[in-house]
């Protein structure tokens, strides 16, 4: 199965309609992020200002129960601080839906003397605080105010992550256009050796943000398609990999100028699309996993850069693109699931340790890495194990940010 097939089989991350909705809400998110650091002086009930400050609810675990203080808060981000002074029989507080069916957040294992907490973005409604073992184990928490848009917009940290990601995507796309234009210039000058040095440099920008480009299905195929995708027809084989094939396999630049100009045109179209698009945290997270899935499949077996053997720098670009998402989400994850964040970082470090073996200066075609065909099967398998472990940990982010 080609990676393009895999892409087609995957559920769409973002439908055109979802894109439009996200674009509208992104304006609000940016507003929220912009004033997130100020102390929220406005009394308006707009979603942007509701997100402005996190409300704190204190819960003291006692033998009698776990009354929330206050018992009525405004919709948006709510920090729950839970403390157990001296209740031997009570050690946890859960926030559940009013019908008790679902646990939304919890702090467990609070023996006397310990405290902890959790944070949630809450929509208006009635919730239950549950503390098994207390005389009265269920207490009501009322959330008033207006329902905000997607819950993540009420979190300044998620909103900041999303706007940071928009910038990252735009910057990389713009850099790709510039560096592809340099590649085209070398091709136009019939300078094959220079073109070979410039090809992998342009590739890395795309490989950091590829899941975004995949939103516009045909554009991804026109920029990054392989011979077997979409139709195994040479005349429809366009973009980076057709140029790669000409330079390394056919050993000619005949027709490459025209091909490269077409590539730039498609990239410029992508640039105008990404500048007006916006994203949400779930898309960021699943996109990060997709990038690593790409690395684990199309890069490990050398499929993607089959003519040039420049797989290692684009492999690293996939990892970098995923880690950018993690870095942007870090302030949020640090609060929400610090152990997951630690695990992701450790597994990223394990990849870095592996990749260090293949670094070279200036490296194959100036990439900073050795030629991928020199990486043995046993080494590839080791790299694959590391990258799959990283992807597995990354795949758990989506739940945290949804």
């Amino acid at each position: 199965m080609t990676s393009a097939d895999r892409r087609r089989a995957a559920p769409r991350r973002m439908t055109p309609r979802a894109t439009a909705l996200a674009a509208i809400s992104a304006g609000l998110a940016l507003t929220a992020a912009g004033c997130g650091s100020s102390s929220g002086s406005s009394g308006s009930a707009s979603p942007a200002t509701a997100a402005d400050k996190a409300t704190t609810v204190s819960i003291s675990l006692t033998p009698q129960g776990c009354a929330p203080k206050p018992a009525r808060v405004t919709a948006g981000e709510v920090d729950f601080n839970v403390a157990n002074k001296d209740a031997d029989a009570v050690s946890e507080a859960e926030l559940r839906t009013n019908d008790l069916a679902k646990i939304l957040g919890e702090q467990e294992n609070l023996t006397p003397g310990l405290s902890g907490g959790f944070a949630l973005t809450l929509q208006p409604g009635t919730y239950k605080i549950n503390c098994p073992g207390a005389a009265q184990s269920r207490w009501t928490l009322t959330v008033a105010g207006k329902a905000s848009g997607p819950a993540w917009q009420s979190s300044p940290q998620l909103a900041a992550a999303v706007s940071g990601y928009s910038s990252y995507v735009s910057q990389n796309t713009a850099s790709m256009v510039t560096s592809t234009q340099q590649l085209c210039a070398a091709i136009d000058a019939k300078n094959l050796s220079q073109a070979e040095l410039l090809y992998p440099k342009a590739r890395v920008f795309y490989e950091r943000i590829e899941p975004v480009a995949e939103i516009w299905g045909n554009l991804d195929t026109d920029i990054d398609g392989r011979w077997e995708n979409p139709v195994t027809v040479q005349s429809q084989f366009l973009g980076f990999h057709r140029i790669e094939q000409m330079m390394w396999a056919d050993n000619t630049l005949t027709g490459a100028s025209q091909m490269c100009a077409g590539l730039v045109k498609n990239e410029q179209q992508l640039l105008s699309l990404v500048r007006s698009a916006s994203y949400n945290p779930l898309e960021m997270a699943s996109g990060a996993t997709d990038l690593i899935n790409e690395a684990a499949t199309a890069k490990i077996d050398g499929e993607e850069e089959r003519y040039s053997n420049t797989d290692l720098p684009v492999f690293q670009a996939n990892v970098d693109g995923a880690m950018e998402v993690v870095t942007l989400l870090q302030p949020y994850l640090q609060k929400k699931d610090p152990s997951l964040l630690t695990l992701i970082k450790r597994r990223d470090a394990a990849i870095a340790a592996q990749m260090a073996h293949y670094q070279a200066s200036p490296g194959y075609d100036g990439t900073g890495y050795v030629e991928y065909s020199t990486v043995l099967d046993t080494q590839r398998r080791q790299l694959s194990g590391t990258v799959n472990a990283f992807a597995e940990a990354l795949s758990k982010v989506s739940l945290r940010v949804s």
Binding site: L282, R347, G385, T386, N388, A389, E392, S395, S402
Partner: protein
């Protein structure tokens, strides 16, 4: 007297027990739960029921208890299908991470073997906790058996002092040409079920839970059991077309199980007492050559009649072979492998037929016997395999993969794999 009253007379001699279908029908009526409970002896763990389940006919929702003095999947009546995973612990894994994984595996195995999913598949924004392919498939007597390979006891996890003296890579043995890609492993997971999908699902999900801590070394699927392991099971046939396991230890023979299968005080390591050593050998059969051999020679190679399974010395399948007669040739398989020929040594065989498809070079079938045997000490296998150096069957087979694992004893609820090892 009306007929139905006659039929309801309790304790009527010669009356067969109710069928499973009747029982289920009855369960629909009010209060029938009590009746069903009272009749559970007929269907719960009775020998007749085990036989039915063993043949894979009906009773596919039958479960094998996960907890017990020994791990399930050893003395358990051999299920029809196998998924066997050999895994290595990934570099840089800490002892605590390995121990946490073994705990997680225990919980997942306990759930899967009672027919539950590993975890929920309903959260829309998370990858489903269970991979899902076994949803709706009856549990089909799934057992999951864990083993530790010799390499696990190197310096990595501080376990070198816990290594049983018996646990080591097997020495070079006759008629082997081992492929490292089908050999060894830090850990093994043997999943057996009467449903291949259920067995595969178990190994897949355990490996997934372990991603980052363990990685696949190799994996084998077995599509037909080749040994009966209790007296209620009919003797199955291997790909040679012969009955296999006629003289196998049967799990009801508790004295033989204690003497030859379960590790005892001699294991040296308290955590291994009640466990068993698993020897896995991937044995390729050159079945095209075998199929061209004439019947009488095939029978001489094995030492038994192909159709009836009776020893060539006469009688029926379960007649003891008379090795005093020349009817069973000196180089026949059953003579050389017999306990009579090996100072009484026996093992519990629990293997499966396998195929890996077609050999790309020769175009012949890559398949044969994925031999699994359990024993008190790997020395038992070594002794038997050395005795098979002269086996006439060697012309038609070759051992291409090899691994040995120490399977710890069973668990009580609340205990976890690794508790004894890391204690």
């Amino acid at each position: 007297m009306p007929a139905d009253e006659t039929d309801s007379t309790p304790g009527r001699p010669g009356r067969p027990g109710p069928s499973r279908r009747q029982l289920l029908t009855g369960a629909g009526a009010a209060g029938a739960g009590v009746v069903a409970g009272g009749l559970a002896g007929y269907f719960g763990r009775g020998a007749a029921d085990q036989a039915a389940g063993a043949d894979g006919a009906g009773d596919s929702d039958q479960t094998v208890p996960f907890y017990g003095p020994h791990q399930a999947g050893i003395g358990t009546a051999a299920q029809d299908r196998l998924a066997f995973g050999s895994l290595n612990v990934t570099g840089g894994t800490s002892p605590a991470e390995l121990r946490d994984l073994l705990r997680e595996w225990t919980q997942a195995a306990a759930r899967m073997t009672r027919g539950a999913l590993v975890g929920e598949v309903t959260e829309p924004h998370a990858p489903p906790l269970d991979t899902g392919e076994a949803v709706g498939s009856p549990v089909s007597r799934l057992t999951i058996t864990l083993g530790y390979g010799p390499a696990l006891f190197d310096q990595r996890f501080g376990l070198s002092g816990r290594k049983p003296a018996e646990l080591a890579q097997l020495p070079p043995l006759p008629n082997e040409n081992l492929d490292p890609a089908s050999s060894g492993g830090d850990l093994c997971v043997q999943a057996c079920s009467d449903d291949p999908l259920v067995a595969f699902h178990a190994v897949r999900n355990l490996a997934r839970l372990g991603m980052g801590v363990v990685e696949h070394n190799w994996m084998e699927l077995g599509f037909g059991k080749t040994s009966s392991t209790n007296t209620a099971q009919a003797t199955p046939r291997n790909l040679l077309g012969f009955k296999d396991g006629t003289r196998n230890i049967k799990s009801e023979q508790t004295q033989l199980m204690d003497s030859y299968v379960w590790a005892g005080a001699e294991a040296g390591q308290p955590w291994m007492r009640g466990g068993s050593y698993l020897v896995a050998r991937k044995i390729r059969m050159f079945i095209e050559n075998w199929d061209r051999d004439y019947l009488a020679d095939q029978q001489n190679v094995i030492g038994r009649s192909k159709v009836s399974g009776a020893p060539l010395s006469g009688g029926t399948e379960f007649t003891a072979p008379d090795f005093a007669t020349a009817a069973i040739p000196a180089d026949s398989h059953i003579r050389l492998a017999s306990h009579e020929h090996n100072h009484g040594t026996r093992i519990l065989r629990r293997g499966y037929s396998f195929t890996d498809g077609i050999d790309p070079q020769s175009g012949t079938l890559l398949g044969g016997l994925f031999f699994i045997a359990f024993m008190k000490s790997p020395r038992q296998f070594i002794q038997l395999q050395q005795a098979l150096a002269a086996d006439a069957l060697n012309e038609y087979i070759q051992h291409v993969g090899s691994a040995v694992f120490a399977c710890p004893p069973g668990l009580r609820p609340g205990q976890h794999w690794g508790d004894g090892l890391f204690a």
